[in-house]
């Protein structure tokens, strides 16, 4: 290996890939057979964390940052004056294997700028994955980008070697995409997504009949949306996310706060803040939809098109819907428990277990890990008194805000003081 040259390429092509949020390495089962290298047992591992707090699980790089497109939001757009580089297929294979053997990573996340055309690029990505699987007997995690516009045949082949495939739709609305990436067609993003979805459905039904059906993208598909680059409301973003979850069986939709990279009249100016709080609230909403049984419309609707910055979306929902409370901790169904602010999935599971043995009171709930500072206004349990009495929603909110600290608090309190 030519280490100096590789080092330079790695710096350029890792730097260009870092705005892709996904680093998940979970959800795939690929067990080590015949003394190969690597084993994926379904659990993801974060091998390190960057100073911005993100997980480093995969070697996340572009094959090249040469690109024929000129999308306004993208660092590798062709009109941007930056250093360009390209890895050879074998170089990516060697890097992956050597990092994996040292336990630095769970596998490879390979994306690319589009050089020549979609199929030519996709073919190269597949070559890397194929080499890793067939020549190196590698069972680690491989995440490949589906290149918008790639042919069905190539998407079929990609899924045979990759654990996960993803297309980033980037801009949540079709009109936003037209504005920022006029050369790209929305349909090109959907095409590979559709193909992969259908392949997975077909694979799953064949797998039931014939056990030896080869794996096809066992960790499913994901996508990513940039938040705060165009003027979408939270409702529009989450409706769009919901659409991809429901219609394309997405495993994950990622939300990426727009990091200003250039001055362009179509985009937030350089130096404007990354909307991290908003991103955080969107992820909370995403979780409520996927694990807590909430519908988008309950959390965001024409009356409430944007999430409350001051409190989390579940609390915000509960304050708007006092008719559902109080909930009896010792009797309520699981679905109802999940809707109590300050009670998460783990607490719910502990409550369901523990209440079989005795009636639970505040002390028990606190020991179990319930956030009572929020929950106490919404529950009754085996302690006397129900905290809300005749408090209204506004009063409860102010009490909770006064008696708690939030990691984003200082950002919005200064914003509010302007009015």
């Amino acid at each position: 290996m030519m280490f100096d040259r590789i080092k330079e390429k790695l710096e350029i092509l890792a730097d260009a890939a870092k705005y892709d949020v996904s680093c998940s390495s979970s959800g795939s089962k690929r067990s080590n057979k015949n003394k190969g290298l690597g084993n994926s047992d379904g659990m993801g591992i974060c091998h390190s964390y960057t100073e911005d707090g993100r997980c480093v699980s995969l070697l996340k790089i572009l094959l090249t940052n040469h690109c024929i497109f000129d999308c306004a939001y993208c660092v590798t757009r062709r009109s941007n004056d930056i250093k360009r580089a390209a890895f050879k297929v074998q170089e990516v294979v060697d890097l992956t294997i050597n990092f994996y053997r040292r336990n630095y990573i769970e596998g490879l996340f390979l994306s690319s700028g589009i050089f020549k055309d979609a199929d030519f690029t996709m073919e190269r990505l597949i070559q890397v994955a194929k080499k890793l699987r067939l020549e190196e007997n590698f069972n680690g995690y491989i995440h490949l980008k589906s290149i918008p516009g790639a042919s069905d045949e190539l998407m079929h082949e990609a899924g045979l070697y990759a654990d996960r495939l993803s297309v980033n739709i980037e801009i949540p609305t079709v009109s936003g995409l037209k504005k920022l990436a006029p050369e790209k067609d929305h349909a090109d993003f959907i095409k590979p997504m559709e193909k992969v979805k259908n392949e997975i459905i077909q694979y799953n039904s064949e797998k039931k009949l014939i056990k030896s059906t080869p794996k096809y993208a066992p960790a499913g598909q994901s996508t990513q949306m940039i938040v705060g680059a165009t003027g979408e409301s939270d409702r529009e973003i989450m409706l769009s996310a919901n659409h991809y979850y429901k219609n394309y069986n997405m495993k994950r939709v990622y939300y990426s706060g727009y990091v200003p990279i250039r001055n362009d009249p179509r985009l937030p100016s350089l130096g404007s803040q990354v909307p991290m709080l908003r991103e955080n609230r969107l992820y909370q909403t995403d979780w409520l939809m996927r694990f807590y049984g909430f519908e988008v419309n309950e959390l965001l609707n024409p009356q409430f098109p944007n999430l409350d910055v001051e409190v989390d979306p579940k609390l915000s929902w509960a304050l708007r819907n006092p008719q559902h409370f109080p909930v009896d901790i010792n009797r309520a169904e699981k679905e109802t428990l999940l809707r109590i602010p300050g009670v998460g999935l783990k607490s719910v599971s502990k409550i369901l277990n523990a209440r079989k043995y005795r009636k639970l009171n505040y002390d028990h709930l606190k020991a179990i890990g319930v956030a009572l500072n929020r929950a106490k206004y919404f529950i009754i349990c085996d302690s006397r008194g129900w905290e809300t009495k005749d408090l209204g929603s506004a009063k409860i909110k102010s009490l909770i805000l006064r008696n708690s600290v939030g990691k984003f608090r200082k950002e919005y309190s200064s914003q509010l003081s302007l009015f």
Partner: protein, 260 residues
């Protein structure tokens, strides 16, 4: 008679189970169970040195497994590996509670002993997961991938399976410097080994003769990658420290200032 007893055992799981057996056989009132190296401080109780007896230990374990759920069995084992002071007595209480109720109490989180065992097991399982993440192998001249760790809890026994199935085509050693034993995988099986280290081994600078000639190059590439993948406008050091507590930095090539 109502006199209390404190026990000492050899630190092994079978030893601890033998203590629990004796507690029943001799109808003791146990107030403390001490691992080796901890002196008994109970002035007013009898003291007993327990000699591990495997058949007795197995009887207790079998009886427990019959009642407890798989989660309960795992929690007890993980809690034992925590080596936390006083955890032995908590385990004894857990067994007593189980045998008394004659049904699994694994979900009784409102019981302080059950919660304590579950929380301790959780801590150990977090440390296990961290070691699966933070171990950094360095390739030696003999083609062995070598790593040292000093985990908070004794997690080597529970990470063995993970590393054996993952790195089945390379020889590797993971050595626990704190507890002075390690795992060695010889391409067929993974065994426990003891090595006598000279000081400072394990870091490449002093050991250029020990490691493969390209080991340093790959470490540099990894460091470069780590830096290039950080988004500067989103730096959040508090979050970073929360994910990678400073005590683990010594393992991590990308964080350890010694590896340059």
């Amino acid at each position: 008679m109502n006199s209390t007893t404190s026990l000492s055992y050899d630190g092994s799981l079978n030893g601890l189970l033998t203590c629990i057996f004796l507690n029943y056989e001799e109808k003791l009132q146990v107030v403390a169970i001490h691992p080796p190296g901890i002196a008994s401080e109970e002035l007013f109780s009898n003291h007993l040195e327990v000699i591990t007896e495997k058949p007795k230990a197995e009887r207790v374990w079998k009886a427990f497994k019959k009642i407890a759920t798989a989660r309960g069995v795992k929690n007890i084992y993980f809690a034992y590996l925590s080596e936390e002071p006083g955890i032995e007595l908590e385990i004894l209480k857990y067994f007593q509670h189980t045998f008394q109720r004659k049904e699994s109490i694994d979900g009784d989180f409102a019981n302080s002993h059950v919660l304590k065992i579950a929380q301790t097991a959780k801590k150990v399982s977090r440390e296990k997961h961290r070691m699966e993440a933070f171990v950094r192998f360095q390739l030696t001249k003999d083609s062995i991938y070598f790593a040292t760790i000093e985990p908070d809890f004794n997690v080597l026994p529970v990470i063995k399976h993970h590393f054996t199935s993952r790195y089945s085509d390379q020889e590797w050693i993971i050595y626990d410097l704190k507890r002075k034993f390690g795992l060695y995988y010889n391409l067929t099986t993974t065994n426990i080994i003891n090595i006598d280290f000279a000081k400072n081994s394990g870091s490449s600078e002093e050991n250029d003769y020990f490691f493969d000639s390209h080991e340093q190059d790959f470490q540099k590439l990894w460091k470069n990658y780590f830096e290039a993948t950080t988004i500067k406008s989103r730096i959040n050091i508090r979050l970073h420290h929360q994910h990678v507590p400073k005590r683990y930095w010594k393992y991590l090539i990308e964080k350890n200032p010694l590896h340059n």
